[in-house]
Symmetry: C2
Subunit: 447 residues, 2 copies
């Protein structure tokens, strides 16, 4: 289907555009910021993901004739606004946290700078992508830590929207996963794809032996055979008889995984299949993975809990106007005062500070610092920032041109590496699965 991300947008963005084109304020320069007021309950950190997808979608963010006709026929915008939209493309700037970066409450994850008209149209798409992708990457990161070096693979596509599944596979890799079962994700982002057979394959055949022989004939001895359709012990025996002791792996998808893995390991070793790997896949989350650390498991397939953010399916990120041009051409910091939803006026800088630098110990992050103020004060601030503060904002889009180094397969690989480094720099409590406060505190300074 030919679709336009430009209509993946809440109607009020277009009605606001229409009203502001009439009164002239659509051309006021603005800075919008994306942040979250709080992490999901008890979480120590979040993981940014989705920015590369945002850049992909921005390249397609324009309205087709059909889209314009829809906006006109539904009387959502005026004829003048339709004309303004005909050649729409975003011409502003976007900065923010890298994919893979850890974030905390009030971290300015994305900053969008441009006219009100162009910035308001992006809100829904940017939030949809960041809220979902970051939820999955955050869950994937916790699972990867709990797996403690054993590879995790995404098998969750069946439990979420079909396009969310594709985004989830990408976000999971940023969070530390090694690959996915989802072929469209593997195709679009050049990810490792995994998978061999389901229970229906065994049931389709006249016997489990027939099924295993068929699978080994097609996929080789190195394949992974699913051993819990009927009786696991018989299946393991049959598997090694069919494939020989060089069988690549077996998968267990039900029952008490720790004790079953131990029994299967013992049986495989007794049969001489000492190199055969064990994969387990039954409704895993980070807590289950942590409890399996001493079980003889070689890799994990994670489904439902990954693609639903392991209890936190969205990040509660919002897109708020931080400053806008006034009649005199100067930027005016602005903020709403709504109860429990007040915002801090002005564009933000963001830094993470580190202790121990220079004294021979490993430097660990000890604070997130958000700095707001007038454009003049912000421009002068970086030269005066403490030495142990690291600037967290990078540039993604300049005058409407993507920096393509943040897109594509390599960007995902880099984001995964960056996330591992970013997490390693946090105090070790960040990796605790116990509920608690964010791993480092955030302070907001208004210059």
């Amino acid at each position: 289907m030919d679709y336009s991300p430009a209509l993946m947008t809440d109607m009020y963005e277009y009605t606001m555009l229409d009203a502001t084109l009439r009164d002239g304020t659509a051309n006021r320069k603005c800075v919008f910021e994306i942040f979250t007021r709080h992490l999901p309950e008890g979480r120590r950190y979040g993981v940014v993901a989705g920015t590369g997808r945002i850049l992909d979608e921005l390249e397609k963010f324009h309205l087709s004739d059909e889209d314009l006709k829809f906006l006109s026929d539904r009387h959502i915008v005026s004829k003048e606004t339709v004309r303004w939209l005909e050649n729409f493309r975003f011409t502003g700037n976007i900065r923010g946290y890298r994919e893979g970066e850890c974030f905390f409450p009030n971290s300015p994850i994305l900053q969008v700078e441009g006219t009100f008209g162009e910035c308001t149209l992006l809100e829904t798409l940017l939030l949809s992508i960041l809220n979902y992708d970051s939820a999955v990457a955050s869950a994937a990161s916790r699972m990867t830590s709990a797996a403690n070096g054993r590879p995790c693979f995404d098998m969750g596509g069946r439990r979420t929207n079909e396009w969310a599944a594709v985004a989830a596979a990408r976000a999971a890799v940023i969070g530390g996963f090694q690959g996915t079962a989802n072929l469209l994700a593997a195709q679009l982002y050049d990810l490792k794809a995994i998978g061999t057979a389901a229970h229906c394959f065994t049931l389709l055949h006249d016997s489990e032996r027939d099924a295993f022989e068929s699978q080994v004939a097609a996929l080789g001895r190195d394949t992974t055979l699913l051993v819990d359709t009927y009786n696991i012990e018989e299946a393991v025996r049959t598997a090694v008889e069919v494939a020989g002791p060089d069988l690549g792996g077996v998968r267990i998808d039900s029952g008490d995984l720790a004790s079953l893995a131990q029994r299967v390991r013992n049986q495989l070793d007794a049969l001489g299949a000492t190199g055969t790997k064990i994969t387990v896949t039954n409704d895993l989350d980070e807590y289950a993975l942590a409890s399996l650390q001493t079980a003889p498991v070689d890799s994990y397939g994670v489904g439902t809990k990954l693609v639903t953010g392991s209890g936190a399916p969205t990040c509660a990120m919002v897109y708020k106007l931080a400053e806008r041009e006034g009649d005199d051409g100067r930027m005016v910091p602005v903020a709403k005062k709504s109860k429990d939803k007040a915002t801090v006026p002005g564009r933000k800088l963001a830094y993470r500070s580190f202790d121990g630098a220079g004294d021979g110990t490993v430097a660990l992050a000890d604070g997130e610092h958000v700095v707001a103020g007038s454009e003049e004060k912000l421009a002068a601030f970086p030269a005066t920032a403490p030495d142990n503060w690291r600037d967290l904002l990078v540039e993604f889009v300049r005058h409407g041109e993507n920096d393509s180094s943040w897109q594509g397969h390599d960007a995902i690989v880099n984001a995964q590496a960056h996330h591992a480094a970013s997490l390693a720099e946090l105090p070790v409590t960040a990796q605790s699965l116990m509920k608690g406060d964010p791993a480092i505190p955030t302070d907001i300074t208004v210059l």
Copy 2:
């Protein structure tokens, strides 16, 4: 982007296809069934949604040259399988529960009949769509009941994947919602679209009065003005001054909604704006809606909790082989015996029974009846089914041809009406928000 739903598929579906084409079992006739083993904790019923989208996607389920090259280059399937896939289209039959139908544990929500090869390729797509869409429709239904006649609108697109947002808008309407903020959903499914302005619109202007005047000039007096950017009381006064007592509505998006709605109602009435409606929109779920029943609110905008299934972001539906052809051409019921995941062999019929029929009282559902057995026994069963049992299975696809009456806008309207009727037939405990057992019990009879 031009995409293929055929690759929105777990890799093992293709490796199973490849192995079974080699050994000949790919051509065995099969019946797969989609069901869930349990409702989300404490839920009384689920609501089927997504089937219409499945039919839309089936029409596009074929592999492009690029897709075939990907499968070949990655060595996922053999050259022979690539040839088999070149002209792939599903030629089998699909039956199941209507969209809007209430479902329970073990309800056979979808039955897919065809060769193993064609049925296995559909698994991921069918489950992705039904699991997500039904999760949203189920949440929407509970919210609609709790809203007790006041209209609910979907405003959740920003809190879920950008395509999930479109599906959620459609599913929400099936569950009883009246419209959506999402324009692509409104365009694709001809849904009512809603939305006027966000806080940034007020902040962009030099004063709240300027913003309200601009909005009324663009959208008319009948618009809804957002009144909680600064001070609600002042905003309401300004709103009525600007638009007059015929102002369409005001929206409150923060604070204690019940008490604020009462104060705003009193203020509006005192200003003569007795017809001005009040919409509230702050992190609502079914519990919040129930608590607002006595507050003077006219409509609700629901976001995060709708699109994330209000605590149950997926339905845990699975796709299992129920029977398959044997060498002799006869159908063989099959089932896996995995611990806690055993299945019931054989294709299923499904009925809902009603009490009170014929005695002048309203007939209420009192049981879900799943009947399994050989093809011969199932064929003979309907003639002997009790009079108060209603057949729940309808036909969606016959020999690969969609019944298009289940697709498009009218199908959504019909599904909404069907859901309202289906829910009204359940015991009233179904609409309780207290955690408990499914509203009616399900029994499984093997003939």
